[in-house]
Symmetry: C2
Subunit: 219 residues, 2 copies
Amino acid sequence: MQPARRLYRRESEESRRTALILATQELVAEGGPEAATVRAIAERAGVTPGLIRHYFQSKDELSRAAYRALMDGMTAKGADAIEGVGAGPEERLAAFIAASLRPPVLDAGAVVLWAGYMHKVRSDPDLMAVHEASYLAYRDTLQQLIETLPRVVKPGQTRVEAIACNALIDGLWVEGSLLPGTFGPGEVITIGLSSISAILGLNLLDHTAMLPDFGKTTP
Amino acid sequence: MQPARRLYRRESEESRRTALILATQELVAEGGPEAATVRAIAERAGVTPGLIRHYFQSKDELSRAAYRALMDGMTAKGADAIEGVGAGPEERLAAFIAASLRPPVLDAGAVVLWAGYMHKVRSDPDLMAVHEASYLAYRDTLQQLIETLPRVVKPGQTRVEAIACNALIDGLWVEGSLLPGTFGPGEVITIGLSSISAILGLNLLDHTAMLPDFGKTTP
DNA sequence: CCGACTGTTATACGCGCGTATAATCGTGCG
DNA sequence: CGCACGATTATACGCGCGTATAACAGTCGG
């Protein structure tokens, strides 16, 4: 007697692709790149391995799509953070910074996922372009927020400041995600805001009244 | 007729172990974790695959050793940088920072290597301990350098400052290594020194006369 | 309601992986 | 000088990988 053939439902191309991409991201985040095999991805997405090749020319193409989705998602979350907030320049900048240093952006899985793709980014010009575009877009948003601040600046100053603030946020993002027990709740945000305040010569901690999950941990 | 058996020389346990560890690091740096197979490692180290199991219980143990060596090497380079420099607190701090933002520490291979081990660090308590110790050692050196600066500080202030400076250096290290074309020569060091100056409330750029490969790019 | 289209599953292939173990030979010691 | 020890090589095994392809079945227009 033959075992019953697996039942299935047809679904849209988009939902299949996103399910496969999501499964890939989850597996890389949990177990590193080598855990994201076609069989594991298919199982997580609720399909059989062969279907991956129906929607992606190769596993590598699926990997690239997953990386693109990761980067797009992270920049989108940054843009969201300054969407629903007031018009004050300091307030908007503080909200943008805080959003990058709080879950779901501040997350060990996200860091592992990002790190897992790093060598592919270096070796694949296509992914390198995605990385560079994403990095520069984030930095550019940061720079525009900085330029709206009520200050007098020298030419070229805001570019350097944006690079520094970006690096500071990146570093806090990595260490805050990897060693969460080393910092108190909200401490990473506080450190980010105070340090960037020092770099820019202002005080962002006075503009955090509206931030979620914040206030109880600030002095 | 049989092909000739490969000739070989006996070598010390230490030289074999370091050769295997170095080969592993190089391969991960060049092609990511999946490029460091036992066969590729053995070839790079000039031995046959079986020998790996003679010196390491498993490939995983070799991987752990390679990660430990990476972290030890990076902290050692930081310590070296403040070894041969003068006694001025600002000068020593500036030398320490600059050393982390210049080759061989600022290097794409090093970043890819570091990133390639990230998920193992998360899942292996032994490696997590190595990471945490290495991170805290670096941060502690930074904090001690900051505490010798001629300033009046509030209690707990230097810890927060060390965390921020560490994060800033980490972020500049990653982006400066991954996108070297985006920054001018020495610009990463300049940005690091000026930003940390702002965080600490002093001017480190006046204490960089002795730094190698520096001076021509500062304003 | 039925047939064709195609999304989906099932199965197989070859390769390279980490590992295990036996054969070999360089070398230091008596 | 020779012999025994063990560092090193050689070979093989089984598994899981990515991929290719044929068989099947859900679905939709007529």
